[in-house]
Amino acid sequence: MSLEEREARQPVLLLTPAITAVGLLLVVPLGFILVYSFWLRTATGADQAGFFLDNWREALSDPFYRDILLNTLKIAAVTTIVCALTGYPAAYFIARSRGNKALLLLLLMLPFWISYIIRTMSWINILGASGAVNSGLMALGLISEPLPMLYNEATVVLGLVHFLLPFMVLNVFVSLDGIDATLEDAACSLGATRWRSFLEVTLPLSLPGLAAGGLLCFVLAAGTYITPIVLGGPSDAMFANLVFEAIITQLDWPMGSALSLMLLAVLGALVLLYNHFLGMAQLMKGLS
């Protein structure tokens, strides 16, 4: 075998483990889900194999699913915007700090050491009727009865922001860290104010990181089901809750498969759109 042939084979050999893993753990299960979505659930809970379009017809035509999907996208969008607004200053501060970046990044990663569910449930002890905020306000005499702060859409967004903020900060930080800080000084030396140099120089250059963080936050928020269960009220369900209920509560795996593929298609389209305009390179950079 010639050197050229060996070199040509190398990528294939190196990629084989990854492709095998993706094939077995993602593509094959996805194939099963696709097949399942055309089956039917019988009255006993058993599945009826075949090619039926009933689940797809219901999922695509029923306004119930459409409305919850739109609500899910809305909650994910609000979460992403809040993450961007609160995460950017934090990332900027870390990127521009001198000497203690590693420590600040470590602090940013600290929440990941605690289970996501426990982190979500911690809000009950903060915002609950006998939680820290209400107890504090009552002790100060500012309120006579606990304020109802939990179990609404705002607390769902709050829980999601708590979960997703580090993803946003990390992505923006990577982007800001790669920008030459002297560019801002150059802008200032040419008469721009600090704010103007930020708006005209730093912000545009950091947009790819912001977009990558936004995509990650949006996709993860749109696929969550724990946060609405723990912190949401009766009508704060998200689309993943419908998938969970169809599969777990109603034992309707075929319908659950159709719904999960529907969500996958919507989020997949979003990722493709992102890739078309911004490319995946920035996302990889942020994740590495």
């Binding site: 009950i124 009727a129 509560t249």
Partner: protein, 379 residues
């Protein structure tokens, strides 16, 4: 039964003249041949029966099982009990459906309707009742309903019973008001934002039947039920989905009233919370069983069931989880604490409790669970 015991029994039969010398030697030879052939595989099989998996409701219930049943059983038999938890029967059924036979062994199922569903999906086994002599002490009514589903045989043993009644904070709601309003207290606009409810569709429809004056095992006006469910939803703080969440909501005074599991409320009362509990007329009675799933190692499972039905174990577990045991109080002396537990029936007839009719509930499960899911989300 282990091989040594089998050999000793065979030898005893031979010594007593039960079988002739030729048959005895023939059986020993056949056993030796079988042992030689299957040894490599037997090791795995024996390892598998060294542990039994048990799945239950978690929280104080699991703690009681672990402390009073599993640990003593493991000490006595050497068989380890691995215990898992689930939030509801539906969730667990989904897990079992996705598993391999033998992966899940015994489950603490609630209601005859769950038993019927598992049987309908081909997940039932057939217990050898000779290996469970303590079954004779169980309330006959609890056993008979299971036999009817599985044509006379059993895939489970009844273990405890309880009710899903109404729990209320006495600081805000008096006993008199509860008696007067019954199930309709859950629709009282005065408590808007301080009412909760279990996210289980059966319980919701059961209570909506009571609120609309209908038979919970035979409602005819479903529109009235959906309306009651919507009214309840609009007054609700949230639907709870586990016993731990129920206890937290009541204990933290996030809610003042909800329907609740009798044992969990008793546990809260024991902790000093001033939570009242009442079963409205036709309140939701249920019995729980220890269900052996098809593909499980039967003998160790039967041995564990028998151990758990022993008087001492049953009483200790019942006191720990605050649900009366399935043991017949007319046959077994249950001590001083059990008669004080909510829903306890000293007659052993359970005539005062209304149980769910499995045919009615399972027959409507597909349609109603979906309908409730929509109402729950604001539709």
């Amino acid at each position: 039964m282990d091989n040594t015991k089998r050999y000793e029994r065979l030898r005893e039969r031979y010594m007593n003249g039960g079988i002739d010398r030729r048959s005895f030697l023939g059986l020993i030879g056949a056993a030796g041949l079988a042992y030689g052939v299957q040894t490599p595989f037997a090791r795995h099989a024996l390892a598998a029966t060294e542990q039994v998996r048990f799945d239950g409701w978690g929280g104080v219930v699991s703690e009681a099982f672990r402390k009073h049943a599993f640990d003593p059983y493991t000490k006595a038999s050497g068989i380890k009990v691995v215990d898992g938890t689930f939030g509801g029967g539906d969730e667990f059924l989904s897990r079992v459906k996705a598993s391999q036979p033998g992966e899940y062994n015994i489950a603490h199922l609630s209601g005859v309707f769950d038993y019927a569903r598992y049987h309908g999906l081909g997940l039932s086994s057939t217990l050898n009742e000779k290996n469970i002599p303590n079954l004779a002490n169980v309330i006959p009514k609890l056993v008979d309903v299971f036999r009817k589903v599985t044509d006379g045989s059993l895939s489970c043993v009844p273990y405890d019973y309880g009710t899903t009644g109404l729990a209320y904070n006495r600081k805000y709601i008096s006993d008199e008001e509860m008696k007067e309003k019954g199930a309709k207290i859950l629709l009282d606009a005065r408590f808007k934002g301080k009412i909760a409810g279990w996210s289980d569709w059966r319980t919701r429809i059961w209570y909506a039947s009571l609120q609309t004056g209908q038979d919970p095992n035979g409602a005819t006006d479903m529109d009235a039920i959906w309306d009651a469910l919507r009214t309840h939803r609009d007054l609700l703080l949230k639907y709870w989905s586990s016993g731990a969440e129920l206890m937290s909501l009541l204990a933290e005074e996030e809610i003042y009233v909800t329907e609740a599991w009798s044992g969990r409320v008793h546990a809260l009362q024991q902790q000093g919370h001033d939570i009242g509990y009442m079963d409205p007329p036709n309140g939701f009675g249920w019995q729980e069983c220890l269900f052996v799933i098809k593909g499980s190692p039967m003998e160790p499972c039967e041995e564990l069931l028998n151990f758990m039905l022993a008087k001492e174990t049953s009483i200790a577990v019942a006191e720990g989880q605050s649900y009366p045991p399935a043991l017949d109080p007319t046959k077994v002396e249950l001590g001083e604490i059990i008669p004080t537990l909510p829903a306890f029936d000293p007659t052993g007839t359970l005539d005062g409790l209304t149980f769910a009719d499995p045919a009615y509930w399972n027959g409507n499960e597909q349609k109603w669970s979906k309908a409730f899911s929509r109402i729950q989300k604001g539709y």
